[in-house]
Amino acid sequence: MFESLSEKFSSIFKKITGRGILSDANIQEALKEVRLALLEADVNYKVVKNVVEEIRQRAVGKEVLQSLTPGQQLIKIVNEELTRLMGDVKQGLQLLGRTPHALMLVGLQGSGKTTTAAKLAVHLQKQGRHPYLVPADIYRPAAIEQLIKLAKQINVPFYPTNPSQKPEDICMDSLSKAGKEGSDVLIIDTAGRLHIDEAMMDELVRIRKKINPAEILLVADAMTGQDAVNVAKHFNETLDISGVILSKMEGDARGGAALSIKAVTEKPIKFIGVGEKIDSLEPFYPDRMASQILGMGDVLSLIEKAQAELDESEALKLQKKLRKNEFDLEDFKGQLQQIKKIGSFEQILGMLPGIGQLKKLKQMNHDDKELVKVEAIINSMTTQERRSYKIINGSRRRRIALGSGTTVQDVNRLLKNFAQTKKMMERFSKKGYSGMGALFG
């Protein structure tokens, strides 16, 4: 549904000819896109405002690096800024003081607390700790059973909660029980509740007072929208949480809630949940989160790789050719070699200025195996054939197929796609589009 930010940038920055310095004037339009991209990613709109202003201040006056387009340069700045805002790399659990330590999980209904409790137990076990699971959700039907089942599955002792007990009593009692049983960390699974439910929030405060937990972790769904700020603010103000765990990160949510929550709480995001399986808990990496929010996947790190690997003048030459539609299979061969240096075909597409704009490219499956085939076919051509593909007649096609270990149909398909691509480039050449990806269509 949405174009990615890098696509929008490359079209905006096409207007800026040559290279030079990012200025207030030439980044204005791009910053509007940054704003929209952040909103699309569910970052709270007030947070967006502040972040965009911060980015603007950092970007103005920056010189555009030789090997980057202005768009890439700005994306780089945006990414660095988001990464910085997202906090420090890897924040583990702080289990200090007397054992057993208590670790309390809090959050809205359905945010993933129970599963996360079991995941944390496994994580702690791996670190040589002896966790103890405490079902303190006496409200939701079968919530106690759910945690107990998980505890048995992973072989972790648990408190045999009776739903008629008060949650604070459950926690107090389990503290002494856990100690006696030789456990050193309590993981308390509290009931999901709305941040505006005062009576229920009070219950958490009572638990907190009674057991003085080492960590109070807010479990928040990575898919949360604008409301994330309200939720995080309330939980933090009521309980002074010590950190955040983002759940359900393996989906396709852009996860802007992470930025919103970090902004209002200033508390570290400690873990992310990436699946329903009990071992799918991972440390939080600010840089990955930043690129996910921008919706650019690995393109960012590739920009850096490209700086090192892509031959600047070669790239310029190629761009010129693309624009004039003089791109031939010989050039394509050269590109394939560059691709191999950097990574997959898909990866390089995002780095070539303008190329991401072809909608069609996104629908295609850039199979690396396919790439090998294409390369073999092209390598089996003579230079002359590569320079002017039109001379490749039936017998030449058979020879090429034989030489590359492919079929005549494969060769036909490649040539047909290349011809179509040339046509497409002709149509778009004024706008600077390029379409060598269609070779794989």
Binding site: M1, F2, L36, L39, E40, A41, D42, N44, Y45, K46, V47, N50, V51, E54, R84, L85, L108, Q109, G110, S111, G112, Y139, R140, P141, A142, A143, E145, Q146, L147, I148, K149, L150, Q153, L194, H195, I196, D221, M223, T224, G225, Q226, D227, A228, V229, N230, V231, K233, K248, E250, G251, D252, A253, R254, G256, A257, A263, V264, E266, E276
Partner: protein
């Protein structure tokens, strides 16, 4: 730590300002719109931009917000809308038109066959709870209701549904955790047909729409239902959590592509989230919202009323 969030800022710290600002957002959108229009005789670009910002906070989303703004702008350009005071009413009308989908729910009788409803959605949105509530509604209409525990994956999911079955007075058909959900569904439908139940509601395991194999599993369940009872499932409802942001669009699109949804249930509207995302979903996919969830109790379910919903967004 960081300049943006640091506390040494002259104006009491950006964080302070942000916090302050946030507490203000709790005041009604309507109030903010009124303030916006106060003393302005013309609908300016600035004004529209501010409206846009306001729409964002209810999770209406970039695409739908832009669509709504474009509609407003067209009206302004055609000189049909000059008075800033009227802008709110016009906007509300557009939103209502997006939400009013003419597609009535399947009605009884079905030639003696049970009405089969399949409930799907991502993890934790409120499927099982909503099923309990819906079962209770049908029971109060005098229907016999069977619940099928087709979430054979999540720990204690079956136990949870059994408790809801008890509360609603509905029978629950189950097998052990780990068994094939299609098989549970097949057995359930066989029992429902032979014992002439009016309504069968199928609780499926929560799954992220990006997991292809799990989505295929749903397709299989869907097929099995159709093989057992022709024309069934009569209803396939997607449960969406009002707290979720833009990802709801992706959820609705994928579940709809895979299954062909006939309705949406929007849960957790008792919190502070507005659930504005359904405005665009309903409009773009033409799927009606059937019910809203407003709490964890058995009667915390209401039929969806577009007027009330839009009113709540502007409140």
């Amino acid at each position: 730590m960081i300049k943006f969030f640091s506390k040494e800022d002259k104006n009491g710290g950006v964080l302070e300002r942000l916090r302050h600002g946030l507490s203000k957002t709790r005041s009604s959108i309507s109030g903010r719109l009124d303030r916006l229009f106060l003393g302005k005789k013309e609908i300016t670009g600035d004004l529209l931009e501010e409206v846009e910002e306001i729409l964002f906070t209810s999770d209406i989303g970039v695409v739908t917000t832009q669509e709504l703004i474009n509609l407003l702008q067209d009206k302004v350009a055609r000189k049909e809308l000059k008075d800033p005071e009227k802008l709110k009413a016009v906007l509300r009308e557009y939103m209502l038109s997006f939400l009013r989908i003419d597609s009535p729910a399947q009605s009884f009788p079905l030639n003696g066959q049970p009405l089969v409803i399949m409930v799907v959605g991502v993890n934790g949105v409120g499927k099982t709870t909503s099923i309990g509530k819906i079962a209770s509604r049908y029971k109060s209409e005098g229907k016999s209701v069977m619940l099928v525990a087709a979430d054979t994956f999540r720990a204690a999911a079956v136990e949870q549904l059994i408790i809801w079955g008890d509360r609603a007075g509905a029978e629950v058909i189950k097998q052990s955790t780990g068994s094939d959900p299609s098989a549970v569904v097949f057995d359930g439908l066989t029992a429902a047909v032979s014992r002439v139940f009016d309504v069968v509601i199928i609780d499926t395991a929560g799954r992220l729409h990006t997991k292809t194999n799990l989505m295929q599993e749903l397709q299989k369940i869907n097929r099995v239902i159709g093989q057992k009872i022709q024309g069934a499932p009569h209803e396939i409802w997607l449960v969406l959590d009002a707290t979720t942001g833009q990802n709801s669009i992706s959820q609705a699109e994928v579940f709809n592509n895979i299954l062909g949804l006939t309705g949406i249930i929007l849960t957790k509207l008792d919190g502070t989230a507005k659930g504005g995302i359904v405005v665009g979903i309903s409009h773009q996919l033409g799927i009606p919202i059937r019910y809203i969830g407003i709490g964890e109790k058995i009667d915390d379910l209401r039929p969806f009323d577009p007027d009330d919903f839009v009113k709540a967004i502007f409140e």
